[in-house]
């Protein structure tokens, strides 16, 4: 090959690079090993993290994943393809995304969806940017003052953080309304009038604390006041709960969340994918890819990326977002998951999670010194008060081989004695009893 090139050595191919730049500072990197050794090393580490039953949710859930999902999603044809820019050579990915768009809009009862953003946290960030673009009528667009986004009730603190960090440099400010009994303080929200009227309001349902928010009231207030509604939802819950498209009289304007519960392993929280849906009227404000159905030269149906003029590779500085690489493979898995479980399977999963969590709460609150912290209905997460600093309790329970919920003191100092617990359909009676016993042992010796 060098002969064809007419170069004396590979080194010569780097002859346009200033010699001083060629470094030998790679000593910090070890020599390579063969696959066997690498796997052995990684397995040794992975083994250290093997844990017993998981009762932590908080945005990432230990659901059963049908074996077929990843057997198919991990096929080289899906896994090692690039973004489907050459539509004719990418009908597999393209049609799948079209099917995904149909499924996720079916779940959320929204009109349109993009092909994914990174995760639930960044999806909320994109939703906020989108709302600001979309709500052109809002006074803040004229005054040039900060664009306020109300956060109604208990939204996932990591989502709020990520959104703040993503939107901060565009003069956007997130304003929490505060909570009463773990749910939105409706008076505080509806008191945001005049100058304080937000561009949009974020509502998470079920909220971060597992509780059901009064989404109809919020949505109706918002739509009466020219405020856009951004819904943050858990897709599993949508098999049971009223979807954002049906909140209040007019539905939410934007629905987003994390697709992890749909066939994606917890895997330390990533990769999963963020979904982002909206009304037809706002489709041109959606960031990210969209797939449309069209026809080919012979009038046969086919699929292609469409409305690409919203995206960075065409619109550059004027794009709706800088997103390019998204979370395609996870969307592939989620689509296969939804096809396999169907509406019946998903609603069984949801009702089973709900039932398991009620059983869990019953068992845990049966332990001396433990009680439910908030009253009212919950889906598959709940806050329990363990009567002493919950972070230490969680560590002690972990010693006994149980991932026993999220200590909340880090986010809400007044909940420092509380754990946010969750039971999915995978948690057996024996798992729940084991957690109960562990908690008993930790709290009461």
């Amino acid at each position: 090959m060098l002969t064809s090139i007419g170069a004396p050595s590979i080194d010569a191919l780097f002859d346009e690079i200033e010699p001083a730049l060629k470094t030998s500072h790679f000593d910090g990197i070890d020599e390579g090993v063969d696959e066997m050794t690498m796997i052995q090393e990684m397995a040794e580490r992975a083994r250290r993290d093997e844990a017993g039953p998981c009762f932590t949710g908080a945005g990432c859930y230990d659901h059963h994943i049908p074996a077929a999902v990843w057997d198919i999603a991990a096929r080289g044809e899906f896994m090692t393809a690039y973004t489907p820019y050459q539509a004719e050579a990418s009908q597999g990915t393209l049609q799948l995304i079209y099917e995904y768009q149909t499924m996720i809009t079916g779940l959320t009862a929204m009109d349109v969806s993009n092909a994914s953003v990174y995760d639930g946290g960044s999806a909320l960030g994109e939703a906020v940017l989108m709302a600001v673009r979309a709500n052109r009528a809002h006074p803040s667009n004229k005054t040039g003052g900060p664009r306020r986004i109300a956060v109604a009730g208990a939204c996932h603190p990591h989502y709020v953080d990520a959104t703040t960090n993503i939107t901060r440099n565009q003069g956007i400010e997130l304003v929490p309304t505060g909570t009463t009994d773990g749910r939105v303080d409706l008076d505080a929200l509806t008191g945001m009038t005049g100058d304080r009227m937000p561009v949009a309001v974020i509502v998470q349902q079920p909220n971060f604390l597992g509780l059901i928010e009064p989404v109809d009231e919020i949505a109706d207030w918002a739509s009466a006041n020219g405020v856009l509604v951004i819904a943050v939802v858990n897709p599993t819950s949508l098999a049971l709960l009223r979807p954002p498209g049906e909140w209040g009289a007019n539905g939410a304007d934007i629905a987003c969340g994390d697709g992890q519960p749909l066939g994606i392993p917890m895997a330390s929280g990533g990769p999963s994918f963020g979904f982002l849906c909206t009304r037809s009227s706002l489709v041109r404000q959606l960031p990210g890819r969209l797939v449309g159905r069209t026809v080919d030269r012979h009038d046969q149906p086919g699929f292609t990326l469409t409305l690409q003029a919203r995206e960075q590779h065409i619109r550059r500085g004027k794009a709706r977002s800088n997103i390019c690489t998204n979370q395609g493979l996870l969307v592939t898995a989620a689509t296969i998951y939804l096809a396999i479980v169907g509406a019946t399977g998903l609603s069984r999963v949801a009702s089973r999670c709900h039932e398991r969590t009620r059983k869990l709460v019953g068992t845990l609150t049966g332990v001396n010194g433990v009680r439910s912290h908030f009253a009212g209905p919950y889906f598959h997460e709940h806050v329990i008060d363990v009567g002493q600093p919950a972070d230490r309790v969680a560590d002690a329970v972990a010693e006994l081989g149980i991932v026993g919920g999220l200590p909340l003191g880090r986010y809400f100092p007044d909940l420092r004695n509380c754990l946010l617990v969750c039971a999915t359909e995978k948690r057996t009676d024996a798992d729940i009893a084991r957690f109960g016993d562990a908690l008993q042992q930790v709290l009461n010796g």
């Binding site: 993290d49 597999g92 895997a267 330390s268």
Partner: protein, 487 residues
């Protein structure tokens, strides 16, 4: 499967994969008002139907596992299955992101090792792994530049410079960070126009976003001069690491004078592209930006690893995702890096460069026009069909589509925007000479077709599941979801 037949077309009310539904729970203990009235419209198929449908759909993709995929700027190289296996170990797959540190030492050790490895790879002082793709790495980088200026009270800097050849994410990122974009011209030799740069620099300059080798497929030779000029103007330099594969193990952004760099692990570190993602875009920073790196990162105390969060890095631009970015991709990258090691990384850069230069010379010898004929290729290079387009009416897009018929994925077309009718061709180091030769043969044959039977090329592809698609109709008559009952 029939063309365009979706999973909804093959469903039937009530049909389902019975083994995939747990026993129903009791009636939910939830107020009726918050319950869903109608079940969502999801597919109603058997497990076999789902498996068959998606198996057959997958066959309608080109992919690295099936084809040569010389997509410039995308580094479509082989993704070792071993890395996928390592990341799929049960201990990693089942780890909850908020599991206690005591039950996460294996995972944390991996992240720590990857941070250290990438510090060496980039020549930077610190690395944060959280960005979830290149674009988020860019965002983190520019946000840190902004945080740095802000921290010093230097708040009049409103502009980010971007060369005209830059990837679209660069200007889009600058805007997301609240900056104005100022474009800087690229010279005829593919290097930056130094006069234009100097004219653009000034007290409004917050920084510049560059990739080197650039998207012109050449190494920016005056990079240190550029760095000095930008620094002298008070700006910082951001390195877009999407092209790092070209110089991996040989040259480091930190040594070129960059203050911050992102890496596309899904390119250089061989995690698969997944039909669009996921990726990971870790950022490495020089000393100045260390106080601003995004969280969380991992620290080590003796043989214990721990999370470091905003409380310990008060100047951090904060978290950009709900958890730890695309954690699984980070594990894949570590596995890949571990197999390569020091010498392997050097070979990556060398062979990527060798393959690109070989392919470039062979195509030039076969009569294709190079955009930068005087230059070495980096890991990629540009050819232009402006002559073919003019004389034969056959465009770069036509060549691209016809290549599909020959079993090759098309190179990147019409990017960078500044070269007309171009292909950006990146063969990567994992392809063989035989594959490159076969690609040249196909290109030569297509040009012969373009001369003798241009229609054949202009109406390509002819052998794929669909022929050329009507993009205009797709955008005009938006059909983004299946219409139940209408098909």
């Amino acid at each position: 499967m029939n063309p365009g037949e979706t999973i909804f077309d093959i469903g039937k009310p009530g049909r389902r994969a019975s083994a995939q539904a747990p026993a129903a729970g009791d009636a939910p203990d939830l107020p009726a008002s918050c319950l869903r009235a109608n079940a969502p419209r999801l597919p109603e198929v058997s497990e076999l139907q789902a498996v068959r449908h998606y198996t057959n759909l997958s066959a309608r993709n080109f992919s690295i596992d099936n084809q040569f995929y010389p997509l410039g700027s995308c580094t479509m190289k082989y993704n070792p299955r071993g890395a996928h296996r390592a990341a799929s170990l049960p201990g990693f797959l089942n780890r909850h992101p908020l599991a206690p540190e005591s039950a996460s030492q294996g995972f944390l050790a991996c992240l720590y090792d990857l941070q250290e490895t990438l510090k060496h790879v980039t020549g930077m002082a610190a690395v944060s792994l959280t960005p979830m793709a290149g674009a988020q790495g860019e965002f983190a980088g520019v946000a840190m530049i902004r945080a740095w200026h802000d921290a010093r009270g230097d708040d009049g800097r409103e502009e980010i410079l971007v060369p005209t050849a830059a990837h679209g994410t660069n200007p889009a990122t600058a805007v997301m960070c609240g900056y104005r974009v100022r474009e800087v011209a690229v010279g005829a030799d593919g290097d930056m126009d130094m006069a234009a740069l100097k004219a653009a620099l000034g007290e409004k300059t917050a920084g510049i976003m560059l990739t080197n080798p650039s998207t012109c497929g050449v190494f920016e030779r005056r990079i240190r001069e550029i760095a000095d000029a930008v620094h002298a103007a008070g700006g910082l330099l951001y390195y877009d690491g999407a092209n790092l594969n070209a110089i991996l193990g040989n040259v480091r952004p930190g040594d070129m004078g960059f203050d911050v760099a992102h890496l596309n692990l899904h390119k250089t570190f061989a995690t698969p592209h997944g039909g669009g993602g996921p990726g990971a875009g870790p950022v490495g920073v020089g000393e100045r930006l260390v106080p601003h790196i995004p969280t969380p990162v991992v620290a080590r105390d003796g043989d214990r690893y721990r999370w470091v969060d905003n409380d310990q890095i008060p100047g951090s631009i904060g978290r950009l995702s709900a958890f730890m970015g695309n954690a699984g991709i980070l594990l894949r990258a570590l596995a890949y890096a571990r197999m390569l090691g020091r010498e392997g990384m050097r070979r990556v850069g060398e062979y990527a460069t060798l393959n690109a230069n070989y392919l470039m010379v062979r195509l030039a010898d076969a009569g294709f026009e190079l955009a930068y004929p005087e230059r070495r290729a980096s890991h990629e290079f540009i050819i232009t069909f402006r002559n073919e387009a003019k004389t034969l009416g056959v465009t770069a897009m036509d060549f691209a589509k016809r290549l599909l018929d020959y079993g090759f994925h098309a190179p990147t077309t019409y990017f960078p925007l500044l070269v007309a009718e171009c292909f950006l061709i990146e063969p990567t180091e994992t392809e063989t000479k035989e594959e490159l030769d076969a690609f040249v043969d196909a290109m030569v044959r297509i040009r012969a077709e373009a001369e003798t039977d241009p229609e054949r090329v202009k109406t390509a592809p002819h052998t794929l599941p669909v022929s050329r698609l009507d993009d205009v109709k797709a955008a005009r008559e938006l059909d983004l979801t299946y219409s139940f009952g209408e098909h």
